[in-house]
């Protein structure tokens, strides 16, 4: 039967072709009986065009409510070695930097207790250890913490924050994304490990509006670097771009500026910075000549999420500009103020973005103690349905 299970003609087709093959990866670990069975089970799915995993399962490590996704297959008799096939979400180091040394140690732990299969990384950012039997959860966890790693989030808690590589490498970073991520992750260990919110809450930090961790689309609190002074221009280098023929200033730059606030007169580039919306495009294109201003910081946006259930949301502006200084108390306090309000009044499985839509951004601001500013909206309301408050009326 083992043989028959290992017969994977459909999956084998996915070993060919130039793109790296996940089937090859599985086969690299297929001596591990868990992964051997996984291959067989997956082949079955390919034959039948249906998955063979059962819904959830309450497993985890002691004292934590999150970090492990329980999973059982629905053919445990045929594929007993992956009958329990949980995942551990291991909180990655900020920016996903590793040394060969630490990776090897991680591999050793995972070889000893698990399937040998990983996701580098999960969509939220965790280092995902894919396929762990229930009884191995605690030993893996113990060895991980011994090595200096901890679990990430799952369930209705703070989810593992992630960030772009920021100042580690990128000249556009307007704040230190990795430091902020590390600090915030450590500050909120309890919220991360012990689900107590109405639903999940994700942080993502990008160093500039290019948003290389997709924070505006995928995090409940999105922290995007920006600046509030003028773009720095090295006119000589601008002229070099033009002279070399590499850039056509009108076609590539000025006409693509969303507010058309740039002028190129053939020798000098001028920017009406009061109308620049810091989109990054001109800087991206003329990267040797232009750079963000010196008065750098970040904006905080709130409430992005996938479509379930009211439809997907992009995050919206909550704080237009904030200086980002360790230990980032402003952000910590803001997050806590939000959790207080949302924690108390949010419905079960209601993301903070949906909650704000339900109670109204105006009311939400009042509750968390922020003043409304026009930067928070595309435009003021168009409908006349204003809930005037009676204290106002008394004035």
């Amino acid at each position: 039967m083992t043989d028959k299970k290992r017969d994977t003609p459909l999956l084998d087709e996915l070993e060919t072709g130039p793109w790296p093959s996940f089937v090859k990866e599985l086969k690299k670990s297929a001596d591990n009986p868990m992964t051997g069975d996984l291959l067989g089970l997956l082949e079955r799915s390919y034959e039948e065009k249906i998955g063979h995993w059962k819904h959830g399962g309450l497993v985890g490590v002691m004292g934590y409510g999150g970090g492990v996704i329980g999973r059982y297959n629905d053919l445990p008799e045929e594929f007993p070695h992956c009958a329990q096939f949980h995942t551990l979400r291991v909180n990655q180091p900020a920016g996903w930097f590793y040394t060969s040394d630490v990776l090897r140690k991680l591999c050793d732990i995972w070889e000893k207790h698990g399937s040998g299969v990983t996701n580098m990384h999960g969509s939220t950012g965790d280092l995902v250890l894919l396929g762990c039997p229930t009884e191995a959860l605690e030993p893996v966890f113990a060895e991980l913490t011994e090595l200096g790693f901890d679990l990430g989030g799952s369930g209705s808690d703070v989810r593992t924050p992630s960030c772009c590589c920021g100042e580690s490498r990128c000249e556009w970073a307007c704040y230190d994304t990795m430091a902020a991520t590390h600090e915030i992750t450590n500050e909120f260990q309890d919220e991360l490990h012990r689900p107590a919110f109405p639903y999940k809450f994700k942080f993502k930090m990008s160093g500039c509006p290019n948003d290389c961790v997709a924070s505006i689309a995928r995090s409940d609190m999105s922290i995007i670097g920006t600046w509030r002074d003028d773009i720095k221009i090295d006119q000589e280098k601008v002229r070099q771009y033009v002279a070399s023929g590499e850039v056509d200033m009108r076609r590539d730059v000025t006409s693509r500026c969303p507010t058309r606030c740039m002028r190129w007169d053939g020798t000098t580039l001028s920017i009406d910075n009061s109308n620049c919306v810091k989109c990054m495009h001109c800087i991206n294109v003329l990267h040797l000549a232009l750079s963000p201003g010196d008065d750098r910081g970040a904006m905080i946006l709130i409430g992005a999420k996938a479509p379930i259930i009211g439809g997907a949301l992009l995050a919206s502006v909550l704080v237009p500009f904030l200086k980002m200084e360790p230990p980032y108390d402003d952000i910590k306090e803001l997050a806590e103020a939000i959790w207080d309000v949302w924690g108390e009044h949010g419905n079960n499985r209601e993301r903070v973005g949906e909650f704000i839509q339900r109670v109204g951004l105006g009311n939400f601001l009042e509750q968390i103690g922020l003043d409304p500013v026009p930067e928070m909206v595309i435009q003021p309301r168009t409908n006349p349905y204003i809930f005037f408050e009676s204290d106002e009326e008394e004035e």
């Binding site: 790296p20 591999c107 990983t118 969509s123 894919l130 396929g131 011994e146 076609r251």
Partner: protein, 363 residues
């Protein structure tokens, strides 16, 4: 309670990233001057100090064996002094300072089957999800579709020949764990059959009120089956979102013949030029056809090629479509426009064309 549990710490948080940074980064942290992208997959970041950091980016299937991680560790030791990182899109980056090692490193990675590329105006790795590998909710596999699509789009990974970056995402169900809602091209697993209710299971594992509440269209109603509390589904009101299934495992939507893929286009995340955009429906349904999903692969390829031929430099998919107009997009790609393309959810009316701004209408 604590039987058999080895000594362990808790709430230590992730390891400090600083210990994993190569010296050149530690030294020049926050002091970078500019970067260049000398060739596909290679970035050069130059510090104000004059120091240079090279990052060589290789594709991975994301789902990787520890054997591969060990291989990467070995390669890192050989070329970078042991330093490497992963990107936000599941590529691995080797971080080195010795320019002469770049080409040998690339050669080595290619030899091992991990092609170098994905930088600049290219297609980089597909952000994706679990699929049949691990998730109960999946309407299709993830890794298999991604592999099939990227085999076909490989040339766009290893070269920088597109008008702009092109981000593809894949998610195996409407939960969209894979950034699908804001991608240039998104592939999304979908169900098309209302949940089949296992009433016995409802009784044992589901709360009727929360199951009823989970349904955004009110299709789930409480009922009594054989004298027990259960639920029923008004089929015409179901749009197959599986939210009921998430809260109640007895409401299975998976179906070999009805499940499949849909294709979405024109989303983006960056704020460069235009504001971030959601992806929009291009193709409502393509049947599941493992192991290589040829219809889906061709559909994606067609869209990429039409885009590559028509877009201007720096124009992302959605920006290109908005410039030429959606009618033209459907015309050029040959995709049929159906009633399914017309939004009918909460904010549907906001997507109706409420102006006389129309391009030339065909006779």
């Amino acid at each position: 309670m604590s039987q058999n549990i080895p000594q362990r710490k808790t709430d230590i948080g992730p390891p400090d990233y600083k210990q994993f940074l190569p010296p050149v980064i530690k030294k020049n942290y926050g002091q970078w001057a500019y970067h260049e992208n000398p060739k596909p997959g290679v970035l050069m970041h130059v510090a104000k100090s004059g120091d240079r950091l090279y990052s060589v980016r290789a594709a991975t299937p994301r789902l990787v064996s520890i054997e591969t991680i060990r291989l990467f560790a070995d390669i890192a030791d050989e070329f970078t002094g042991g330093y490497l990182r992963w990107t936000s899109r599941n590529n691995v980056e080797f971080l080195l300072t010795d320019e002469t090692k770049i080409d040998p490193l690339i050669e080595r990675l290619h030899k091992e089957g991990y092609p170098v590329g994905g930088t600049g105006p290219a297609i980089t790795n597909i952000v994706h999800t679990q699929g049949w590998i691990h998730c109960h909710s999946a309407a299709s596999d993830a890794s298999g579709v991604v592999k099939s699509v990227m085999d076909e789009l490989y040339e766009y990974f290893v070269a920088m020949k597109l008008p702009a970056k092109l981000r593809i995402a894949y998610a195996c169900c409407l939960n969209m764990c894979g950034a699908v809602h804001c991608s240039d091209i998104a592939i999304l697993g979908i169900h098309r059959r209302a949940p089949q209710i296992d009433h016995t299971q409802v009784r044992s594992v589901c709360e009727v009120p929360s199951t009823v509440a989970a349904c955004p269209t009110g299709a789930v109603r409480p009922t009594t089956v054989n004298g027990h509390e259960s639920v029923e589904v008004i089929e015409e009101q179901c749009m197959f979102c599986a939210n009921c299934y998430t809260v109640c495992p007895a409401m299975k939507l998976n179906d070999p013949e009805q499940d499949g893929l849909s294709i979405w286009v024109g989303g983006k995340v960056s704020n460069a030029r235009s504001e971030p955009k959601f992806s929009k429906l291009a193709i409502p349904y393509i049947p599941n056809n493992p192991p290589r999903w040829p219809e889906a692969v061709n559909a994606v390829k067609n869209i990429v090629e039409v885009y590559a031929a028509g877009a201007r430099k720096y124009e992302r998919m959605g920006e290109w479509i908005e410039r030429i107009g959606w009618p033209k997009f459907f015309e050029l790609t040959g995709i049929e426009f159906t009633k399914y393309h017309i939004d009918d959810f909460t904010h549907a009316g906001e997507s109706y064309k409420r102006s006389a701004h129309l391009r030339q209408v065909k006779e």
